[in-house]
Symmetry: C2
Subunit: 463 residues, 2 copies
């Protein structure tokens, strides 16, 4: 028999890993709820027609399609038809609803839009929802990139108020504060500023080219950016203006004031500045004074160019060499894809896998997560076993996670089990303990062992 | 544009539904952890070779297969090969790893066995794991039967001790007690008793036939069972013995004593009785005195005939007309499927969807689950908005779930929103409240409105 494996790019999560992931997800869930966001879950499968054409050609290719069931039952009557459908699939993998009509969810955004459209009469707008579920992509697996991974999104649809943007910034801050991730930096920009920049260069149609070029500033430095801008046909005085904007220094207020001066001829640009100012002002009212992460206006930030229309954000962690751990922005017409026009939205995503990696690298997970079980009762069989079961019952009754070794195995074997599980305490009950109506509690870390009443033992384990 | 839909047999879970489902899952999770069970999560996809042949022919047919990606990229060089592979698929849907090599998880048991075999050197035996994840089956959808549904399993592998059986009974009791589900009845039986019954009829090979016949007692009554037993060739004196066993009355001890007398010539039967006695005796030591559900020996109980080898259990709820809400038993060689012999296991499943339906029908979900948000701050814009944002910050700081209506919309519109969301409180802040450094808190149920300091308001909302 060949050794079993799991598909490339997928993962088993061991007990410790599940607990750590749950810790992240529960922290986020509590924050979302505190901010009035409501949970939503959509099916793993969507109809192919719902997903296709929403993620570009590359996305269409990377969607996992599900083979229709019952094909072999049709083979005798419909062989020719089935073969011709198969040839359609070979041309374009989503062209035959006879071969495949369902696919696995590729992200949480399109299913959310689909849900809002289907339930537009039931839900109260503005609708604030969060969603934490796996998605699937047939990407080539590599370090940190999986074919099944979790997304975690929070969105508000049906309101254009910038209070929403500010609250989503609060959610980022609150989350990374509670997870104790250091050196978190939230970059903020506006698509309108990027459009304004193109306008003041006299090239309103070149916003994409300009944005793509300045987004590379970190990698190719300013001289590289200049070369690319020239190549894209941006005139020299435009490039000069871009240079001025990019090299702006100072805090957010100073930068935004200077930008307003440079952009004074662009209505769109000024609108973008106004929106950033208002967002930051709302944020200042809402922010908790314990949050220490910076929020920094960064005009070189580009995100989801075909998608976002207003404020955009991205979160990085300076303490670990890793890409962004979150991002999002304002989009104007998501539900329009399914026929419901005029519903503006704004949302953010948390990168769960990367957040996990950061916390693992910086050793930020609380120690007690490793094993849920607090104590193992050693099993000596006979009357001692019976006595131990009664003790076990009392421990669990007060909510202590406890187990008994189920067999009266050799003491060494039971100790080895406790050790491998990383259990912090064991309880030993022999004749002497039974006679005195007590238990012996041994701390596995310090080696200390004490004879205690059951009540004292419960207090010690709860401490 | 056609209206978007979701695939047949799948469901969106609205915020209220997610919260209710989470309530069930969290209750179970806490209990599993208290009993020393550890969480495991496996990928949604498994290799087809892992799943095929494990669920019988019907199961193979109902497994959702995933189309391999990149087929159309191969079509020019390999057209002939691809067509012949397609024809293989039409014969047998899992016969071409070129067309499909992955599938969606069909249950949690086979992935668990696969995990244990793959990680046999890392995990401490006995391994007590719980797993709560969706599974997929291409069944014909109907009321209460879905193509995507959640399973929730707890298993112990690597120990033959009946303490495990008793602890799993405790987990059932504790769970349904905490969920407040009334009239829960746990039926318990042993495969060994069923084998013993066949032995004392002198037909040890007919255990399956006998079990299948007596399992129908509820539907076809004793005369129907007799007819079926005769048809299967069970001699009259055998049928008489079966009749005596089935009509046993009295509590568990009385029944087991009478059974021991009837089965005295069957070693297997006596072993089954011994195991049931020992399980119930362990259970008595471990049980909490608050649990009220019955545990009833029921020799007509049949479950997983090709699968279980020892104690079997099934949970029903007398208060609602619905099938079983849980079941499980002892199996002897699950990991043997993947080449690891001699690992005995015992496990139980919770039927999450049915448990949800029972709780919904009996209105057992705690009322505060419906909306997480406790209070909406009405937004009048301007200085009032600014003041309200400060209040909002203070409420969230102490963990109260609160939101502000993001736009200074008409009062009526904001009230309508609060109403549609089912929010219990609103806060109104006008000039008077600002002047006095207070807020007005309105209880939506009673209509009562009071002007309070922020501190008093927090106390009132926490109460």
């Amino acid at each position: 028999m060949s050794k079993p494996r799991i598909p490339q790019g997928t993962r088993d999560f061991s007990p410790t890993e599940v607990r750590k992931r749950q810790y992240i997800l529960n922290t986020l869930r509590t924050i979302f709820e505190t901010y009035g966001f409501q949970p939503l879950e959509t099916p793993s499968m969507e109809n192919l027609t719902t997903l296709m054409g929403k993620y570009g050609e590359e996305g269409d290719r990377l969607i996992f399609k599900i083979l229709n069931n019952g094909l072999h039952e049709k083979k005798d009557s419909d062989k020719e038809k089935l073969n011709s459908e198969w040839n359609k699939v070979l041309e374009k993998p989503y062209s035959s609803s006879i071969v495949t009509e369902r696919a696995l969810r590729y992200d949480l955004t399109i299913p959310f839009a689909r849900y809002v459209v289907m339930h537009q009469n039931d839900i109260a707008l503005p609708f604030r929802r969060y969603q934490m579920q796996p998605v699937w992509r047939a990407d080539r697996p590599q370090k940190g990139r999986y074919r099944e991974f979790w997304q975690c999104d929070a969105d508000v649809v049906g309101s254009t108020s910038l209070i929403n943007e500010a609250e989503l910034l609060c959610i980022y801050q609150s989350a990374f504060h509670q997870l104790k991730i250091p050196q978190v930096k939230v970059k903020i920009n506006s698509r309108k500023l990027l459009a304004g920049l193109a306008e003041i260069c006299g090239m309103p149609d070149k916003m994409m080219d300009i944005t793509i070029a300045i987004d590379k500033l970190d990698k190719i430095e300013w001289t590289g950016v200049v070369a690319e801008l020239q190549q894209k046909g941006i005139p020299d005085d435009g490039i000069e203006k871009i240079g001025k904007v990019i090299q702006l220094k100072g805090d957010n207020d100073t930068q935004l004031a200077a930008l307003a001066e440079i952009m004074k001829t662009s209505e769109t640009g000024l609108k973008g500045i106004e929106e950033l100012k208002q967002t930051l002002s709302y944020y200042a009212e809402l922010a908790d004074k314990n949050w220490t992460s910076e929020i920094v206006v960064d005009i070189s930030l580009a995100r989801g160019l075909n998608y976002y229309t207003g404020v955009i954000v991205e979160v990085g962690c300076g303490a670990v060499k890793i890409g962004s751990i979150g991002g999002g922005g304002r989009y104007d017409d998501l539900t329009g894809l399914f026929g419901l026009k005029g519903v503006s939205g704004v949302g953010v995503s948390f990168g769960i896998d990367r957040t996990y990696d950061v916390m693992e690298e910086l050793d930020l997970f609380p120690e007690q997560l490793v094993s849920g079980t607090k104590v193992l009762l050693i099993n000596f069989g006979g009357a001692e076993e019976k006595y131990a079961l009664g003790v076990l019952n009392k421990l669990r009754h007060v909510g202590l996670a406890a187990e008994i070794y189920p067999d009266a195995a050799k003491f060494d074997k039971q100790m080895k089990y406790a050790n491998k599980r990383g259990l912090p305490y064991i309880i030993i009950i022999g004749e002497e303990e039974m006679r005195q109506h007590m238990v012996s509690l041994k701390n596995f870390t310090t080696g200390e062992q004490k004879m205690l009443t059951i009540h004292e033992c419960i207090e010690a384990l709860k401490a």
